[in-house]
């Protein structure tokens, strides 16, 4: 479905806001995610920039009404460039007491609470751990409360729909959506169309949801609203012309890998073993057979890595994917790929650890694992993606480097990036620079560890090629013949060349740029991965107040851009903000002997802009 923008000027009595954060929360069965997705879609059509994040419970389907069963969806949208999903919601839509219980603490002081009072029964209050009813006991006095019996009003609206009470009640999310549409002046037509399409086999449900949506909207138009609750307008953002879609990180990686394989002119072989939050990449690629993607669910992570290595050996680009504990299991196999110098891509969707940790929560704590986490001097390329859309480019870069240098590449994302979404201008595939792989075919002078003198990459000779039959393996090989060798000088030479090959990639990657701010000043805030949004906004905010701060964001984690030492030297202080106990800070200190300071956060939640701003300001005051 491709729709042109139809931006209707808003009624003039609406208050204008630059940006707003809305959070929907309820039971897993309340349709919170669908509601969020529809709101996102119409908001995009309204011309706002936006970012979204679904926040699933750890449990598959916890008992209804429990706090640990709360599912949430957050959107930040505005008239300006949106870089994060927002520190704190302005508006919370709570479908039940548990949702209010869990989410209230993150709501902005004075924020709007829209609560379905129909669900605040004694039993539900108890399940959520409320003593008294917060809607009536005055405990929400510091918020702008809009308690509506959404359940009852939905039932009322659907009295004639012919639906059972149970079915009718399941439309209440659209009633709430209608109310929120009214609040922000959103157009209902795209949702009407979506509902018609979605329920084309159950038109009664389509009609009912539409009716609920309209009823909620009408309620906003006509009801007497509580003090302080009003209607807003968020003017459209300045957005580059083009055709857009929403994209999550995992989709962008899937597309990027598929695109990269096409640019390399190779089939893509993806093998993985399910693990949260990495599985969605497997799911996405499993639907991409048309693009030349073969997926394989292996018996475990070790087998997944090994099958990918086997596929690379046979002439595909082998990719595997997991999260920290699963990547740990792939370590030995990655060593084999380093020793045999075969291309391999390992995507790590990082999650909170150690061990099982908090699988559904985000963290950036596998950088050490990626850069250093193998036995022996086993260097690989490490890349990181800084936003959902960025994943596309980084995945292409991973394919380029893996195939050009015959090396494993570890691509780091995290649970946040993988599931967050943002608008994305559709890339022009034909405009991407191809990097076709040239397999070795000439038998003259061939041996399997022949190297390209520039890249130091060994030749890629694929089974099936006549005259190039050869044996490779994890035992050390002679530099000059590829045969097994235990010769001391040879091991030194091979170790040196393996390390030099990876180090040399620094000459084939972009120079490090300063993302915002001047190239010198008091503080450089250095980040990598999903901290991009909050750092970027925080630095902008401080700069707006005159602080001499810059933002430097790394994509190439290993090897690092060759000018990075010089770039960092431009600042009095280096502050590394990351969601771990200081891993990038450690690496920068070791590489460049800069006294990098660490701003660390390890609670499973992305940084808030305010936290980074505060840290910068503290440092500025020193």
């Amino acid at each position: 479905m491709s729709t042109a923008v139809a931006y209707e000027p808003q009624r003039h009595d609406r208050r204008e806001l630059e940006s707003v954060v809305v959070r929907f929360a309820g039971d897993s069965g309340d349709g919170v995610q669908v509601t969020g997705a529809q709101f996102t879609q119409t908001t995009a059509l309204a011309g706002n920039d936006l970012a979204t994040f679904p926040d699933f419970p750890a449990e598959i389907r916890a008992p209804t009404g429990t706090t640990f069963g709360v599912s949430a969806f957050q959107i930040n949208f505005g008239a300006r460039d949106i870089k994060t999903v927002g520190d704190a919601p302005d508006v919370l839509v709570a479908f039940n007491p548990a949702a209010l219980k869990v989410e209230l603490k993150s709501l902005k002081p004075g924020g709007v609470v829209i609560a379905d009072s129909g669900t605040f029964t004694d039993r539900n209050l108890e399940k959520a751990g409320f003593g008294d009813n917060p809607l009536t006991d005055g405990s929400l006095a510091s918020y702008r409360l809009m308690a509506v019996d959404i359940s009852q009003r939905t039932l009322d609206a659907l009295k004639t729909s012919g639906l059972s009470k149970r079915e009718a009640l399941r439309c209440k999310n659209f009633w709430a959506l209608g109310l929120v549409y009214w609040m922000f002046g959103r157009d209902r037509k795209p949702t009407h169309a979506w509902l018609a399409q979605k329920f084309k086999d159950r038109p009664d449900l389509g009609t009912a949801n539409t009716a609920a949506l309209d009823a909620g909207h009408a309620y906003g138009e006509t009801a007497e609203l509580p003090e302080g609750v009003e209607a807003y307008v968020i003017p459209p953002a300045v957005i580059a012309p083009g055709t857009y879609r929403n994209i999550t990180g995992y989709e962008a990686i899937a597309f990027g890998l598929a695109a990269g394989a096409q640019l390399a002119e190779l089939p893509l072989f993806f093998s993985s073993y399910p693990i949260t939050p990495a599985s969605t990449l497997l799911h996405a690629l499993a639907t991409m057979a048309e693009l030349g993607v073969t997926t394989f669910q292996a018996e475990d992570e070790i087998a997944a890595a090994c099958a990918a290595i086997g596929a690379s050996y046979a002439g595909s680009i082998g990719v595997t994917s997991s999260s920290g504990p699963g990547v740990a299991l792939k370590t030995e196999a990655i060593g084999l790929a380093v020793a045999t110098e075969l291309p391999l891509i390992v995507v790590n969707s990082q999650r909170a650890g150690p061990s099982t940790g908090m699988p559904t929560k985000t963290e950036q704590s596998d950088l050490f694992q990626a850069v250093f986490g193998r036995n022996a001097d086993t260097h690989v390329v490490v890349l990181s993606a800084h936003s959902p859309a960025d994943c596309f480019e980084v995945a292409i870069e991973a394919v380029r480097l893996a195939t050009k240098y015959m090396t494993p590449v570890i691509l780091l994302t995290d649970g946040y990036i993988a599931n967050a979404a943002e608008p994305w201008p559709l890339p022009k595939i034909d405009a991407l620079a191809p990097f076709p792989v040239k397999f070795r075919t000439a038998p003259e002078g061939f041996h399997p560890f022949l190297r390209d003198p520039d890249t130091l990459a060994r030749v890629w000779a694929v089974p099936g090629t006549p005259g190039l039959e050869h044996r490779i393996g994890g035992i050390e090989k002679a530099y000059d013949s590829g045969h097994i060798s235990y010769e001391p000088a040879n091991h030194q030479r091979m170790t040196d060349v393996r390390v030099a090959k990876i180090a040399g990639i620094a000459n084939d990657i972009p120079l490090q740029t300063v993302d915002s701010g001047a190239t010198s000043g008091r503080i450089a805030v250095v980040g990598w991965g999903s901290t991009y949004g909050p750092i970027s906004r925080a630095v902008d905010n401080v700069r707006a107040n005159g602080g001499a701060v810059a933002h430097i964001h790394l994509r190439h984690m290993w090897p690092m851009p060759r000018n990075l030492a010089d770039v960092l030297a431009g600042y009095d202080k280096v502050l590394v903000a990351e969601m771990n106990k200081g891993q990038l800070a450690t690496i920068l200190r070791a590489q460049y002997l800069v006294p990098a300071e660490s701003l660390s956060k390890v609670n499973g939640q992305p940084f808030k802009i305010a936290e980074i701003e505060a840290a910068i300001n503290r440092l500025l005051e020193q």
Binding site: A4, P241, Q262, F296, G310, Y313, R471, G474
Partner: protein, 338 residues
């Protein structure tokens, strides 16, 4: 193109010095394999030998095809990747009792279950050769080794029974020294479409010498080996003895055939398509029973996993991948900013 030249075993040998201990059973197996490779008419470049780690796993270095000496226990997974990426390759997997049944047991289970089309040769010497003689999961109880100085006491796994339990559709056995028998078994394995599992009893002259002598030694071979042939009665000891189902039970027994014994008609006829019979033959225990050699089970499935991947996934690839990508990117909700 020229007509394919018929290759010889020599063509499949490499110039690498073979680095097994003098007298190791691996030499004999290498000889058998090199002997049969020319018969398949598969060119060297389409043949890949994949192995794990162990003495057995050095095999690929001695075959002049493509070869991948991988890591301990993981060869089945790597071979699966190779075969799924290019089903046209003829893949042989060489493993040991430690490589395949200790660290690699899970991958062996799954390659057999999935029925990926390849030949799997497990050299069982009932010991860890390369790491200097520790006991393995196939070692007999009481094995004294550096890691079991008081003797081992865990029941060994029966490789063929494990393979059958895992769902293998081709299970066979031979002995390193059976230079007539082994090539036939190898050919049968190659003919079978799907995962073919061949256990080869292999003498480790250094750490477990003569451990198979109770049935592999020349002088006891007739009494202690039964060479299976599909459709033929299960006779051994020069036809003097046979196997039958003990009446009124579900167990095999050894019977004397002919004078003073039962008639040949009462002896079981080997049916290699019967998994239960194969299981019985694989698990015969005790000195009165022979060791079953040859094809215990061969019951090919309609297709192999790699063929299905090819048909159901790879065949979907669009003739214009680039256009398909552009199309797929624009699928779902999009909007245009002007």
């Amino acid at each position: 193109m020229n007509a394919p030249i018929k290759l010889t075993p020599k063509d499949f040998a490499t110039d690498q010095e073979v680095r097994w201990c003098p007298g190791c059973g691996d030499y004999a197996i290498l000889k058998s394999v090199l002997g049969v490779l020319p018969d398949f008419g598969v060119p060297r470049e389409k043949t890949v030998f994949v192995s794990g780690i162990g003495c057995a796993s050095r095999f690929p270095y001695y075959v002049s095809t493509y070869g991948f000496h991988t890591i301990h226990g993981r060869a089945p997974a790597i071979a699966t990747g190779i075969k799924l990426a290019n089903p046209e390759l003829d893949v042989w997997l060489v493993t040991g009792d430690g490589d395949g049944l200790s660290i690699g047991g899970n991958h062996l289970l799954h390659v057999l279950r999935r029925n990926v089309n390849m030949q799997i040769l497990l050299f069982n010497n009932e010991i860890y050769g390369l790491t200097k003689g520790q006991y393995s999961p196939t070692s007999r109880p009481g094995t004294r080794s550096p890691s079991t100085p008081f003797g081992s006491f865990d029941p060994p796994v029966i490789a063929a029974a494990f393979a059958l339990g895992a769902g293998a559709r081709f299970v066979a056995r031979s002995i390193d020294t059976l230079q007539k028998h082994l090539p036939i078994v190898l050919k049968r394995a190659h003919d079978h479409v799907g995962a073919s599992f061949v256990e080869i009893f292999q003498n480790c002259i250094v750490y477990n010498d003569a451990v198979f002598d109770d049935f592999a030694a020349k002088d006891v071979a007739a009494e202690r080996q039964i060479h299976l042939e599909h459709g033929k009665p299960l006779l051994f000891a020069g036809g003097r003895k046979g196997l039958r189902v003990k009446p009124g039970s579900l167990a095999l027994e050894v019977v004397h055939v002919g004078e003073g014994g039962v008639g040949v008609g009462e002896v079981l006829v080997h049916d290699e398509t019967n998994r239960i019979l194969a299981t019985m033959l694989a698990t015969m225990e005790g000195a009165e029973f022979p060791v079953a050699l040859g094809v215990l089970y061969c019951n090919p499935a309609a297709s192999s996993y790699d063929a299905e991947v090819d048909k159901r996934i790879r065949k979907r690839v669009s003739p214009d991948r680039r256009a398909a990508l552009t199309r797929m990117l624009a699928r779902g909700a999009t909007w245009t900013v002007r």
